[in-house]
Amino acid sequence: CVEQTDTEATAPSVIDRYYTRWFRADMKGKPCEDHCILQHSNRLCVITLAETHPILQDGRAIKSINYQISNGCSRLNNKVSGKFCTSVAFHSSTWPVNYSPIGGQFLTDFAPLCRITCTDETEYTIYSCIRGRLLEVNESILETPTLLLEKPSTEGYIAVILPKFEESKSITENLLSREEFESVVSKR
């Protein structure tokens, strides 16, 4: 068994090792409102702002972040409880796994996650980008909005969505790979 020790100065990051980057460009036709979806090998997706998103340009500052997207719906009220199949032990090796989250809001591609208002009064809506069950929205950015500006790909993530097992491959059909996205950006 060969031991792997990595002593390079720049090692592949956690994201590089476990996630695949997918992109949605110009969300809902709005120029440059690009989203980056980090898909984990366990099929979970973390929704983040792509580096090209307007919020991250021109030194903008954030005035408010609101998960209340309509009168009746707040993403903060997303209550997810788990339903476990108790007869099988949990191992990372079983697939599909015997846990299904119940209650988390089921989202479609264009479901709004939150609305962000910047100090220059520009307003942006961040969207789900994929179909799946909403597991979590990042409340840290409510407390510390600068996280979104400084660490949009990690601590400033927007939400975590779990696609249906059957759809975990097909959801990427509507998304751009990194190469495709970079090609789109270069043509702007």
């Binding site: 068994c1 002593t7 984990h40 973390v46 409880s81 990372s92 090796s93 079983t94």
Partner: protein
């Protein structure tokens, strides 16, 4: 000698003429003398016939002359007294002499003991007829010998078709009626069950075939005999309409008429309703029960030990996705293979005090584990043999190592969970830093004691674990500087702490984390478990 009384005669008469075999007749007469059931059935049948025949003859003889020879002692039979039977009147087995036969023949003609031609018993469906006896004992013993099991004692268990309860109930009701007229009571529990009689007959025979092994009530080794009778399965069906709530539809395609359900329904049903639906005598079947293959099962044996994992590409349990193996072998399989072979067991259940990831090594004394071995054909290994088995496992692969291998009790499996939740663990992590550091930059970490973390369920397991925040304590840490971008971090933490997430922060979902403490991006390149601080299983000196 049949331990029967005069009062039994109408019962015997009724049952014989309804198609019951001799042994079932004994059962309904509450004969609890085991030896009575071990006689060849034909012999018992003859005795019964004589028993009822003689009485009638005796009466008519009394009124007639005493010239008939035969069995003048019939009414005052003396003989060895089998224990347990009320010795009021005995019938002595003695074939009637020819002369007497002639005289008795006329008297007997008045009685006309009507018997159906001997065939399959309507009560036991043949189980107490040809299906119990020396031939069957030989067959059972053969199956046991084939398995080459190691055992001191055995328990013989028998499973009967559910419809036997219905037939038994029917016979009992009619016998009860017969006796009520003589003002005797017959509780259902007084009747000897078919199972009981079968065991009385077979236990001794099986024991003999297996060289005198003790056949007992409870044992680690169970030999199961099962009988089915498809022909009469429909006997139970009427109960579904009379006691619908006893029969719940099952998820599988299995029959809803389980023995338990049928027994329950029979307890509830009134005598009147039963008699309306089920005729006495029960219909005579055309064939006997079918014995299924004899099953042998030895109770599970439990072993425990501690394992080391030296490989960074070995999962603890088999890694399969869509039924396809994604990684070769696993810790549990490497340990199980030689163990299953030594104990000649059919399968196993593996349990350990926590688990490490594929890419994590387990060093030090290793992690406690326990295994349940299913249906082991060998159950006792000496200390020496266990040592040898441990050696075999260790020689089979350099990816794992096992120590303290020993046989333990069933409670062992529960102790695994105990260790997982309550005890501390020690680790060494290889940490990468984004910015260049010097040794003094990380020295402060050594002074941090009992740091409480709030860990949201890591993203890497969030697809199979509920979203929650767990508080875990890092008791102490020690750093060893390597180079401007690497250092070794030793940690002692509470059980259940996610180390990887503590180092890289998991998108900020573990707070505090190493990135935040050092104010730079950090990642974990390697992780080793140094110790699992559980003092069980007891260590075995090498």
């Amino acid at each position: 000698m049949l331990p029967l009384k005069d009062g039994d005669k109408p019962v015997v008469h009724k049952l014989l003429s309804s198609g019951c075999c001799a042994r079932c007749v004994l059962r309904f007469c509450c004969v609890s003398v085991q030896a009575a059931y071990r006689k060849p059935p034909q012999e018992t049948l003859e005795e019964l016939r004589v028993f009822i025949g003689n009485t009638e003859n005796g009466k008519s003889r009394q009124s007639a002359t005493h010239s008939a020879a035969g069995s003048p002692e019939s009414q005052n039979a003396v003989g060895s007294d089998p224990p347990g039977g009320p010795p009021i009147k005995r019938v002595k087995l003695e074939p009637a002499e020819p002369g007497a036969a002639a005289a008795e023949g006329d008297a007997a003609a008045e009685v006309k003991v009507e018997e159906e031609e001997s065939g399959v018993c309507v009560a036991c469906l043949g189980i107490l007829q040809e299906l119990s006896g020396p031939n069957q004992a030989v067959k059972i013993a053969e199956r046991v010998k084939e398995g080459e099991y190691e055992f001191d004692t055995l328990v013989l268990s028998v499973s009967l078709p559910a419809q036997l309860c219905v037939r038994e109930h029917s016979c009992w009701l009619h016998v009860k009626k017969e006796l009520r007229e003589k003002s005797s009571a017959l509780g259902k529990d007084d009747v000897v069950p078919v199972k009981e009689a079968f065991k009385w007959i077979m236990q001794g025979l099986v024991a003999k075939e297996l060289g005198g092994v003790a056949v007992v009530i409870r044992s680690l080794f169970e030999v199961s005999v099962e009988f089915t009778h498809p022909e009469t399965e429909a006997d139970c069906h009427f109960l579904a309409s009379t006691c619908a709530d006893c029969f719940k539809p099952t998820k599988n395609k299995q029959s809803v008429f389980t023995r338990m359900a049928v027994v329950k329904a029979l307890e509830k049903i009134s005598d009147a309703v039963f008699l309306k639906h089920y005729a006495f005598p029960p219909p005579r079947p055309s064939s006997s029960c079918v014995p299924r293959d004899v099953q042998c099962l030895h109770a599970s044996v439990f072993i425990a030990g501690r394992y080391n994992k030296f490989c960074r590409s070995l999962p603890q349990t088999p890694w399969l996705i869509d039924g396809e193996r994604r990684m070769e072998s696993s810790v549990e399989e490497l340990i199980a293979a030689p163990v299953l072979s030594s104990f000649r067991a059919a399968g196993f259940n593996f349990s350990s005090s926590g688990r490490e990831d594929v890419d994590v090594r387990t060093l030090g004394n290793g992690r406690p584990f326990a295994m349940e071995l299913l249906n082991p054909h060998r159950s006792k290994l000496s200390r020496e043999e266990m040592k040898q088995l441990q050696e075999t496992i260790n020689e089979s692969s350099d990816k794992i190592r096992v120590r303290d291998l020993q046989i333990v009790s069933r409670e062992a499996m529960g102790r695994m969970k105990e260790g997982e939740e309550a005890k501390t663990k020690s680790y060494t992590a290889l940490v990468w830093t984004q910015k260049a550091i010097q040794s003094q930059d990380i020295a402060f970490i050594d002074g941090i004691k009992d740091l409480t973390l709030d860990q949201k369920t890591p993203l890497r397991v969030l697809h199979r674990r509920a979203l929650a925040v767990r508080q875990r304590v890092v008791h102490r840490m020690n750093t060893r500087y390597l180079d401007p971008h690497h250092f070794h971090l030793e940690l002692k933490t509470q059980a259940g702490t996610y180390i990887k997430e503590f180092v890289h922060g998991d998108f900020g979902r573990t707070k505090p984390n190493m990135s935040a403490l050092l104010k730079m991006d950090t990642d974990i390149l390697e992780l080793d478990v140094e110790s699992v601080d559980v003092d069980w299983p007891p260590s075995i000196p090498e």
